[in-house]
Amino acid sequence: MTRIFISKDMASVALGADQVADAFRQADCEVVRTGSRGLFTIEPLVEVETSSGRVAYGPVGPEDVAKVLDGSHPNCIGRIEEHPFFSGQQRFTFARCGVIDPLSISDYAENGGWKGLEAAYALSPQQVVDAVKASGLRGRGGAGFPTGIKWQTVLDTEADEKFIVCNADEGDSGTFADRMLMEGDPFHLIEGMAIAGHAVGARHGYIYIRSEYTFAVKTMREAIARSAGKIAPFTLEVRVGAGSYVCGEETSLLESIEGKRGEVRAKPPLPAIEGLWGQPTVINNVLSLSAVPFILSEGPQAYADVGFGRSRGTMPIQIAGNVKNGGLYEIGFGVTLGELVSQIGGGTASGRPVRAVQVGGPLGAYFPPSMFHLPFDYEAFAEAGGLIGHAGITVFDDTVDMAKMARFAMEFCAAESCGKCTPCRIGSTRGTELIDRIVAKAPRTADMLETLPQMRNARTIARTHDEEIELLRDLCDTMKHGSLCALGGFTPYPVLSALDHFPEDFGSTPALTEAAE
């Protein structure tokens, strides 16, 4: 019986992979459902096992079965590893994703699984923390905080009980790496969490997954059940979010697990000292925890050898939006934005010129193609007025209206604000109104009160366009410095970058920024 590999990743299923799998089953093939390889233009992707390895075809529909089986299908790719989208990647974290049956514990073990955990068990907790420090691993959830230092704090804090919490809330638009890993290689995350548990002395862990990720929730729960014996006495459970973006913020996430409203806590105390139920808690992104097995099995140096500046190791970058070759591209830091968008991504899907890319989700900055020389590196992006965040890149073509995108950023902040601080809760709504007025070229005029004769010092003439823009900048400044967390604090990134790089969309003259380039 011919063995066929077809992804059951949510994206592949959305593109019809289930129907393709059914068609192959009806043709008496043995169908193994895997995770996704990560390039969606070739999904649904079918790989046929042959004596000389797997041969890939994609995209393939249910009507293509015969042609795939006799090898005559025009969308034959050959060995997937040799496809240009994959040949340049450095898959440390996603090595198994798309290759194995995600829920087969024997597949996992045969393909290098559990090696990191076994290496960790042979070391003392401090040695494991030292290895993570030496690797240079920084948090992949957004802030880029050194993971080893976070673990050290938890290890050093005395407590009867400690927790490992995995942040799988992945709310950023343009990101899907956490989802793909949980669906395509769930034991890998479990292994990373078990290593963290050993390193800091925690016995229990939570994986907080957003409710939109129904496939990932199911796969993770099943994988936890199947691997319980392997990671004992460490135990794990999944908790499901409920549609709130701000619950991705670590303290808000802890509140949510505790069964409360997802309101952000003031720091200090750090979660590493007083986290879940007041106990020391490691909270890390899926990708941070999933980088750890490699660091333990191959050694921290092997990880640190790859990268750029103070950004060590690889980053599973997600290329999304209006792009031809969208998908997951894992590579060492240092690759430029231009390489990612133009060469690897192949430019826009619409065929029109790229006008802007947003990096790092809804709180990330918009960059014009003139900044495509930027290397993928935490510091380089920060200097350029942006952030890497969870490494999602959203590509826009020249039909995008950047004032609209700036308005959307404010609107999103208003919708998702937890309400704890004023600059975020109120400022975002005022920001939306302000951008509306700027775009409509209807600056604010004096209101009824201001025109009363008693209000002698009130201004009675309308603001100018420039004054409205100035006010928007001022508002962004207040949000940036006066917000408790990065939702209110970083919403200015997309707004100001849109304003700086695309002033013409706000009705201003583009001269200044162009001259600066």
């Binding site: 638009s173 343009g174 129904t214 290329i319 969208g326 995008v400």
Partner: protein, 165 residues
């Protein structure tokens, strides 16, 4: 998920069934039982009956305000029966970059319902969602929980017909 609203009638305050779920949750989760319990109630009945609030409060030793506060905080939790079909259309940036706004307008027009609302006849609701993690193949939606990608004009017609049936 796909069977949203399947038991909408049974929730004509099926207090006993609600209480059973509550007891189960208290028994199962020693800590942080509230959110999993609310999910469970919603999955079972399609929504969280406000009549459940005092029962939950007393079982978990919380105030009613705390329980209500949690329910109202999370966009996913609802206190009214959902429409028979729910389309959750992604409104986030990557889907916008792929023409999401036009699809949203077409969908609203086809279904005869504004974004964020349920149609008066209870047949269908169009709800916003901010990213489904399918960002390279948008515009995307969950149609009664089933992921649908690359929605174009034709797909709008197809989905509309599907939810009218």
């Amino acid at each position: 998920m796909p069977q949203r609203g399947r038991k909408e009638k049974s929730a004509m305050t099926d207090i006993a069934a609600i209480q059973t779920l509550i007891d189960g949750a208290v028994h199962r989760d020693a800590r942080g039982a509230l959110l999993p319990l609310l999910h469970e109630l919603q999955e079972e009945f399609g929504y969280i009956d406000p009549a459940a609030v005092p029962l939950i409060a007393s079982a978990l030793n919380l105030s009613r305000a705390e329980v209500h506060g949690v329910i109202s905080f999370y966009p996913e939790l609802r206190t009214e029966a959902p429409a028979r079909h729910v389309i959750k259309l992604c409104r986030a940036e990557s889907c916008q970059a792929r023409g999401g706004a036009a699809i949203e307008a077409a969908m609203a027009q086809h279904l005869g319902v504004a974004m964020g609302h349920a149609r008066k006849d209870g047949q269908v609701a169009l709800e916003p969602v901010y990213c489904l993690g399918l960002c390279a193949i948008g515009p995307n939606a969950l149609v009664d929980g089933r992921p649908v990608a690359r929605i174009d004009g034709e797909a709008v017609t197809r989905i509309s017909a599907e939810v009218e049936a």
